[in-house]
């Protein structure tokens, strides 16, 4: 056996299976995608990172490709103290945001000094057939290490038959009269339209989004 053949043969087991040494990262340099059937089913569509941003809008990639869309908020930090993270949808590609919505909002709170431990519905943050922005969270303190993280799930936004349900779950830090607390915000409801929703906008109710990344995923078969 020639030396080249020997080197080639050495990259197989005695069973004829490729050894790890036969395939390097460079071997896969031209692989840019794998077949859909083999992919994981939580597919990153796009992401945006705030930098003193008035808002973050996702105006593409929301269509009938996926029955479920999931936004993940990572370390969203407001420029202004006690700002709330809000969102709304659009049926016209982001030209305007303001779909009629009915939603609930409740939260649990627990302070670092143990003085507050509460579970309560908040009538100030729910919406009854309103086109206002939907609150994903209540007030977020803007001290340097604060912010929020969480998940917003939207079901079948491209439907032209049904209203569009959403479920949002966020945890944040709140400064209540000088006492910091963990707040678990739970909002859910429906965007009361049978038109397709094709864009979402996220912003603080006051001031900019100082920092933070929003990832948009599609979930489907």
């Amino acid at each position: 056996m020639g030396s080249l053949t020997r080197k080639f043969a050495n990259n197989f087991t005695t069973g004829g299976v490729y050894k790890p040494a036969a395939i390097t990262n460079n071997s896969l340099a031209n692989i840019t995608d794998i077949p859909a059937a083999a992919k994981g089913k939580l597919t990153l569509i796009s992401s945006q990172t705030a930098s003193a941003s008035a808002s973050i809008s996702f105006t593409s990639g929301i269509d009938s490709t996926y029955p479920i869309y999931r936004f993940e908020f990572i370390n969203m930090h407001p420029a202004t103290d006690n700002a709330d993270l809000t969102f709304q949808g659009s049926t016209n590609g982001g030209s305007s945001y303001g779909i009629t919505t009915t939603s609930t909002y409740f939260e649990t709170r627990h302070s670092e000094n143990d003085s507050v431990a509460q579970l309560a519905y908040n009538t100030g943050f729910d919406l009854a057939q309103s086109t206002s922005y939907i609150r994903g969270s209540g007030s977020i303190t803007n001290q340097n290490d604060s912010g929020l993280s969480g998940v917003l799930t939207i079901f079948n936004p491209s439907s032209t038959i049904f209203v569009k349900h959403f479920i949002c779950e966020i945890n944040k830090m709140f400064n209540f009269s000088g006492s910091f607390e963990s707040t678990h915000s739970l909002s859910a409801g429906y965007l009361n339209t049978t038109s397709s929703i094709n864009a979402f906008d996220f912003k603080m109710d006051t001031g900019n989004i100082d920092d933070g990344t929003i990832y948009m995923y599609g979930i489907g078969a």
Binding site: L4, K7, F8, A9, N11, Y18, A21, A22, I23, T24, N26, S27, L28, A29, N30, I31, T32, D33, I34, P35, A37, A38, K39, G40, K41, L42, P67, I68, T102, S103, T104, Y105, F106, L119, A120, Y121, D126, L127, A128, Q129, T153, F155, N156, S159, I161, F162, V163, H165, F166, I167, L186, S187, A188, G189, Y190, N192, T194, I219, G220, A221
Partner: protein, 212 residues
């Protein structure tokens, strides 16, 4: 060296490593699964069409996650519910204990309530578990949400689940419901069945994923 042998030889470096020029996306066209490619694996889905129920077989994933998309009933004011089987679907009557709470608000601003409902929880009951509250059957009304079922194949432990749904109530309220509990059995769960409390599932899709 023959032509075929030369082609094969050119596919490898002098160290016998597969060269990048000889493998591309099309080379993987027949690959349908790659271990580790994703931690949430699509297992199955079912689309209702005037269906009395939808059933899924359960396997050995440590967690199953079900997504309910636009579940629409044929009958107004009904509950979307599930039950579990340990005998391959012959019987759906596993004993369950669960909690059930919800927040709701009307389109007319009525309600604004967060409450525990002790009529829809289960205490060592074999009844179906409700997953929402009084779903409406108007053309655009529906329910969506998720159900996570943990380690159903265990023969050591009881089986926990956590569900979260939002639905349009038949009187035009938004209901956000949180349900959690356990199937109080150490037998492996083999099947799960979804149905409405009355009438068929007119439309809607359930997607089942396995989580590695």
């Amino acid at each position: 060296m023959g032509i075929a042998t030369r082609k094969i030889a050119n596919a490898f470096s002098t160290s016998g490593i597969i060269q990048s020029a000889n493998i591309n996306n099309a080379s993987l066209d027949n690959i349908t699964t790659i271990a580790g490619a994703g931690d949430m694996v699509f297992v199955s889905s079912a689309t209702a069409s005037s269906s009395a129920s939808i059933e899924f077989s359960l396997g050995s994933y440590k967690e199953y996650k079900f997504f309910f998309v636009n579940m629409h009933p044929q009958t107004d004011d009904v509950y979307f519910q599930f039950n579990l089987s340990t005998d391959n679907g012959s019987n759906y009557n596993v004993t369950k204990t669960s909690t059930y709470f919800m927040a709701y608000l009307g389109e007319n601003d009525a309600g604004a309530v967060l409450t525990y409902d002790n009529t829809l929880d289960l205490a060592q009951s074999t009844s179906n578990q409700n997953l929402l509250y009084s779903l409406g059957a108007d053309a655009d009304q529906n329910a969506s949400g998720t159900l996570q079922l943990f380690n159903p194949s265990s023969t050591t432990y009881i089986k926990h689940w956590i569900a979260n749904t939002n639905n349009a109530h038949y009187n035009n309220f938004s209901f956000n419901t949180y349900i959690a509990g356990y199937a109080n059995t150490t037998s492996a769960l083999t099947n799960i069945k979804f149905q409405m409390s009355s009438g068929n599932i007119d439309a809607g899709k359930i997607l089942m994923f396995g989580v590695n």
